[in-house]
Symmetry: C2
Subunit: 222 residues, 2 copies
């Protein structure tokens, strides 16, 4: 089936403490987002990318697209106020039946096997949400303080969150709600069950300066 | 008040894929655990360490202790079957009123300010559990599949989990239960409330090969 990757690169990057949004920070001389785009382009020859970019960085994104291995398979759309609105903007350009990956632009270490696994699982079940276990104990903040949660039941959610278009696109017709923090919650609100699949420890989000160092080392094939 | 750090170094290290337990892996030429011990020794002049070590690595631990900045402030006890039993073995040698830090030997990037913060907070409230927020969305596995949890309420628990001895030591008189995965759960089971304090993003557990790389770079003062 046709594949689309909606890659969300709308973050403001404030947590990195610098004026450059995280997705444009350089990793071995190339922007973080460049790695993300090329990995998806290489995963399937019939995959198209919808890059959801911050409006004030359209120029940078355009140049970045032109530097990838298959710029003609990438189109750019403007980001929205929230992740929900950004993804909705991205989905708006998809007009055919497809498997859709929704991916964080700053998860530049996503692997081809993970993309393939999500695709196969979404084709079978309608959705594939990559998750990893927590290495730390987990507590939930409550009105009275906090309480322990059984760590073996806790899953940390990664991307690409992957869906059949016939499930994902109608779900995004919903009115925005604050609890729509990722695609899985939107699809569940539309009445669907979502299915988890095994993510990857290295598939980290670049959100802190230390993450750039990690990514650099992992890319060096360590 | 007198300070003790019970440092748990009883892991088997199987997840690193090698025969060397994680706490003995080298980071810039020194074992992971060496950094942990020295940071605690340097934090307070009147701090003593109880190192809970795997019985079959007593020799290695002895040499490691001798290579620290204040070996005379470290005593070694044998580990138990579970973390609970290891910590209980460590507490058994503490005979005076104190603030007790219980720390993972493999969290070698713990900072002096975090140790000081936990001490002050435990002195005030009886306990201090360092936690950080989750950067990923979080789901809870349920009988029916999984459900989203409000990420802002989820806290990932680090160490040093810090307590007044008069709270911690009696709590460890309990019978072991499988839900005793950390010290906070043991203290809660004894009827106490535990108090959270802000942890540190860099205070990671060395459990995967990639973590060693991260730690190496962070130590380089990046």
């Amino acid at each position: 089936m046709k594949k689309y990757a909606v890659i969300v690169a709308g973050g403001s990057g404030v947590r990195m403490g610098g004026p450059v949004p995280k997705q444009f920070l350089l990793l071995r001389g190339k922007p973080v987002l460049w790695y993300t785009l090329n990995t998806f382009l290489a995963a399937y020859a019939d995959l198209s990318i919808v890059l959801v970019a911050p409006a004030d960085h359209a120029e940078t994104c355009r140049e970045l697209i032109d530097s990838t291995v298959a710029a003609q398979r990438i189109q750019m759309v403007a980001g929205g106020d929230t992740r929900f609105h950004s993804v909705r903007n991205g989905l708006a350009v998809i007009q055919e039946e497809a498997v859709i990956f929704v991916h964080d632009g700053v998860r530049c270490l996503v692997s081809t096997p993970l993309i393939h696994r999500c695709y196969e699982a979404a084709l079978r079940s309608g959705s594939a949400i990559p998750v990893v276990g927590s290495r730390d104990s987990v507590r939930l903040v409550t009105a009275a303080g906090s309480e322990a949660i059984d760590r073996s039941r806790v899953k940390l959610v990664q991307t690409p969150q992957t869906f059949l278009s016939k499930i994902l696109i109608p779900a995004y017709q919903a009115e925005y709600r604050p609890e729509f923090t990722d695609e899985a919650t939107v699809v569940e609100a539309a009445g669907h069950t979502v299915y988890l699949t095994e993510g990857e420890p290295d598939n980290i989000k670049i959100t802190l300066p230390a993450d750039l160092l990690i990514a650099e080392r992992l890319l060096q094939g360590a």
